[in-house]
């Protein structure tokens, strides 16, 4: 029997009346990779924030190596050998790797002896675990994958025995994920303990030896990874069985209805983000855009939907030019022409979180009948409509008067989707439709998109989730550094092939 290095007993934590963690009991064994899986909002991050000392539990106890400890701040946790790599990195961009790592632990006023020693120690660590990092490089020059390594190195340097990683692969290419997993395995071999928080089943199956599943603040199951499979885990997460593959009919391709020619787009800082992009979408087709975040997908979608000005080139809808460097139709005019847009960032763009649900359900269509007549809003019609679509799209709770921020991510996304699909658009631009959405809702959203395609809509789907691109698209293009670097018909394409394109290697 291996003794647990970390033991949580009856941890409870609530925020106001929301209980984020209920009676959590968890044992993590030394020298293992332990997965914690659950949907968004299941309480994974809260639990780990308690372990890292960011939050204090309302009740319960934490033992490390069999000893009761109190963790009042991250500093306590670091002293006790716990390190955490957050989803969003905590690095000073214009400092070097070395400066970032010793930040707060300099140990002397003027850099000298200890500084040199730190450098030597870090070099050794890098070699042991094959980090392949230049300690004098500036953070802003490093790719996301390397920045993550800096975070890991920082924790190790501070003496972490237990390393917590919160959704570490969200921003990485498949190749970077491979590299990360290699590092994690070698850490495990050196006797470190790793806790991996994720909502991706495949990572759990690949990497962990034990897994705990969380649902609605509780741990609903512990198991050895060898004794389970993806379907079982998904069922535990959601509380019912789910379809992991999308049912899709053969494509019935129509004419080209949306055309983009030599399009270039600049961002707010005047940097060209989309470079000479050409694409065509036919009715009844889903064109997927794969790519690591920040390679121009955002700006491309914004330009296509009339939010951002085109630098050069043009966009055609049904053979009519809707946008070039001189003119562009605004989003409302485009809606009138049958182009709808589900934006990739629903908090920033798709919704007004302080508005009530019914106000968001008509957003962008608010000046059309029956929602308003001679500029006066018709609340009765709006409420009637809201009740209807909220039922159709299974938005929970079904309360049009509730402030939108009180809905979960998945339900907010359904609000947007119902609004954009309701008018049966001919062209649909979709960005990250399932980011931060729970598995149950993902299934629903995917089905709706397929239905739209089968009804003859031309759909452009940008997503950083390769699984999503692969399971929905008929054709896939890959964007890297603002350019289209590859196009594949979605038959026997593997995520490896796409991954190489996404990294700009192939």
């Amino acid at each position: 029997m291996v003794s647990p290095i970390l033991e949580l007993t009856n941890i409870n934590k609530s925020f106001g009346h929301v209980q984020a963690n209920k009676n959590i009991n968890l044992k993590i064994n030394k020298g293992t990779i332990h997965g914690i899986i659950g949907e968004n909002g299941a309480g994974k991050s809260t639990l780990m924030s308690i372990v890292f000392g960011l939050y204090q539990a309302n009740s319960g106890s934490i033992k490390i190596n069999g000893q009761d400890i109190k963790l009042k701040s991250p500093r306590d946790s670091i002293i006790n050998g716990i390190g955490m790599v957050h989803q969003h990195f905590m690095l000073v961009e214009n400092f070097t790797v070395l400066e970032n790592i010793i930040l707060g632990f300099e140990g002397e006023t003027f850099f000298g002896e200890k500084f040199e020693k730190a450098k030597k120690d870090l070099k050794k660590l890098c070699e042991t675990y094959n980090f392949n990092l230049d300690l004098d490089a500036t953070i802003s020059d490093l790719s996301i994958g390397f920045r993550q390594r800096v975070e890991i190195l920082k924790s190790l340097y501070r003496g972490a025995e237990i390393l917590i990683l919160d959704e570490p692969t969200g921003v990485l290419t498949p190749q970077e994920v491979d590299e990360l997993f290699k590092i994690l395995r070698s850490l495990k071999d050196e006797g470190k303990t790793i806790v991996l928080i994720t909502h991706k089943l495949i990572e759990i199956m690949d990497l962990t030896s034990e897994v705990s599943v969380m649902r609605q603040g509780e741990i609903v199951g512990h198991t050895k990874t060898l004794d389970t499979n993806k379907e079982k885990l998904a069922e535990m997460m959601v509380g019912r069985s789910v379809l992991l593959r999308v049912n899709k009919q053969e494509i019935k391709k129509g004419e080209v209805i949306f055309k983009v020619k030599n399009l270039s787009v600049k961002d707010d800082l005047d940097v060209t983000r989309v470079k000479d992009v050409n694409l065509e979408i036919c009715s009844g087709e889903i064109l997927g855009i794969a790519g690591v975040t920040g390679n121009g997908q955002t700006e491309l979608l914004e330009a296509l939907s009339g939010i951002r000005k085109v630098e050069s080139g043009n966009i055609e809808l049904f053979g009519e030019k809707i946008s070039d460097q001189d003119n562009f139709l605004n989003p409302r005019m485009l809606k009138g022409k049958g182009l709808a847009h589900v934006p990739e960032d629903r908090q920033r763009m798709g919704l007004i979180s302080d508005f009530k649900a019914h106000e968001n359900l008509i957003f962008g269509y608010h000046d059309q009948e029956p929602f308003s007549k001679s500029s006066i809003l018709n609340n009765k019609e709006i409420t009637k409509y809201s009740n209807k679509v909220m039922q159709e799209y299974d938005v929970r709770p079904n309360t049009p008067n509730l402030i939108t921020s009180n809905f979960s991510g998945g339900n907010q996304q359904k609000i947007i989707l119902s609004r954009e699909l309701n008018e049966n658009p001919k062209v649909l631009l979709v960005g990250q439709p399932t980011r931060g959405v729970d598995i149950g809702a993902i299934e629903f959203i995917h089905q709706r998109l397929i239905d739209m395609r089968d009804k003859g809509a031309a759909i452009l789907l940008a997503s950083v989730e390769l699984d999503e691109i692969l399971s929905l698209s008929d054709r896939i293009i890959v964007m890297f550094d603002g350019k289209i670097v590859g196009e594949k018909v979605n038959k026997n394409v593997t995520d490896r092939e796409l991954g190489l394109l996404m990294a700009g290697v192939a």
Binding site: F15, D354, H366, S372, S375, L377, L402
Partner: protein, 373 residues
């Protein structure tokens, strides 16, 4: 620091909109009482004087309502801009210019039938106030110059401009003081005592006049505009999330300008009360701080007409009752009541959320217990 997180959806509306402001107000008044005590007077006696001064006799009450009228206009002005997340600090200047609008219309068109002169004068007040707000609005929407800075500067510009006009252009040349001639008596708005005279009740002079009803109508107008029309909807959308507004094809530029112009126009209506209702001429500095106090009124009233009405009334009471106190208590100066106002602004504006989490979580706990029993 407090770390209380309250589930907002469980907080009843009356807790956040009634109880919290009342607690803040009480605190402000308690601290004010302490000041009065330190100044060597009896706070309880001061409260009695305030209540007597503002409610105790009919003339005093009329004064209270007269002040309330001004505060409704300036409070609504701030609130409308705030729904588009614009801090219009320029109510003072916009009101000043609004007065000019009233005067110019009334004096030049006084040959028209009286009700038409009134309507046109009201329109003139709105238009001039709106025009004065338009410039900062334009600078904000096209150039990104922050409206807080520009509207403050525009208060000073308005003041200088009006002094220039009152000294050199529109001064009543039969005398030396910086004010205009009086408007012809026929077009003055009927005063409260004229009204009550019809019913055979005789009251001594008070500045309360027909404009009070215009203020009440403005409350309805703002409520309807902000919550019932597509313009209000779009203004709020731009205010809450500009990115989302652009996504939905709503123009932030247009809405910033519309919101500021309506805001400035409402502030301008203060001119109707002061020029057409009370003074019948433009005097230097007639907005007398109402524009600034309107900010506090709007903050206390949570930018909603239903809240602005009682908040404006409260400040009316303080103004009228306060002058009664300074009259009776030699140790309390006029500036003391400026301090009291300051405390109210401090507690209901700047420190608005000081006790909010505690109060809300208290009620949420209380109410959920009741449900469980």
């Amino acid at each position: 620091m407090s770390n209380i997180v309250v589930d907002k959806s469980k907080v009843p509306w009356w807790v956040s909109n009634v109880i919290v402001p009342l607690v803040n107000l009480t605190l402000a008044l308690l601290v004010s009482g302490l000041f009065i005590f330190i100044a060597g007077e009896n706070p309880i006696k001061a409260v009695k004087l305030i209540i007597y001064g503002s409610f105790g006799y009919i003339q005093g009450f009329a004064y209270t309502l007269y002040y309330t009228t001004n505060f409704i206009f300036t409070g609504l002005a701030f609130a409308v801009a705030f729904h588009c997340r614009l801090f219009n600090i320029g109510g003072e200047g916009q009101a000043y210019l609004g007065g000019l609008g009233v005067f110019l219309v009334a004096i030049n068109l006084s040959f028209l039938p009286v009700p038409i002169v009134w309507l046109l004068a009201i329109f003139g007040a709105f238009l001039f106030g709106a025009a004065w707000a338009y410039i900062p609005a334009y600078l904000q929407s096209k150039r990104g110059s922050h409206v807080v800075i520009t509207t403050i500067m525009f208060n000073f510009i308005a003041s200088s401009l009006m002094i220039f006009l009152l000294v050199d252009v529109i001064r009543d040349t039969n005398q030396m003081a910086p004010h205009t001639v009086k408007l012809p008596k026929e077009i003055w708005l009927p005063s409260f005592e004229a009204f009550s005279g019809i019913f055979g009740i005789k009251i001594r002079y008070s500045p309360l006049n027909l404009t009070f009803l215009l203020a009440i109508a403005s409350l309805f107008f703002v409520w309807f505009l902000v919550w019932k029309t597509k313009w209000g909807y779009e203004m709020r959308a731009v205010g809450h999330n500009t990115q989302a507004a652009i996504y939905a094809g709503i123009s932030p530029h247009k809405n910033i300008i519309i919101a500021m112009c309506i805001s400035g126009g409402l502030a301008g209506l203060l001119g109707v009360n002061e020029i057409l209702g009370v003074n019948h001429k433009i005097q230097a500095g007639f907005p007398a701080g109402y524009g600034f106090t309107g900010i506090a009124v709007a903050l206390m009233g949570r930018n909603h007409p239903i809240g602005i009405l009682p908040a404006a009334f409260l400040f009316g009471i303080l103004y009228q009752g306060g002058s009664e106190v300074t009259f009776e208590m030699p140790n309390i100066t006029r500036y003391m009541f400026v301090a009291v106002q300051g405390l109210i602004i401090l507690f209901s504006g700047a420190l608005e959320n000081l006790f909010r989490p505690q109060i809300e979580s208290f009620f949420v706990r209380r109410l959920s217990k009741e449900v469980n029993v």
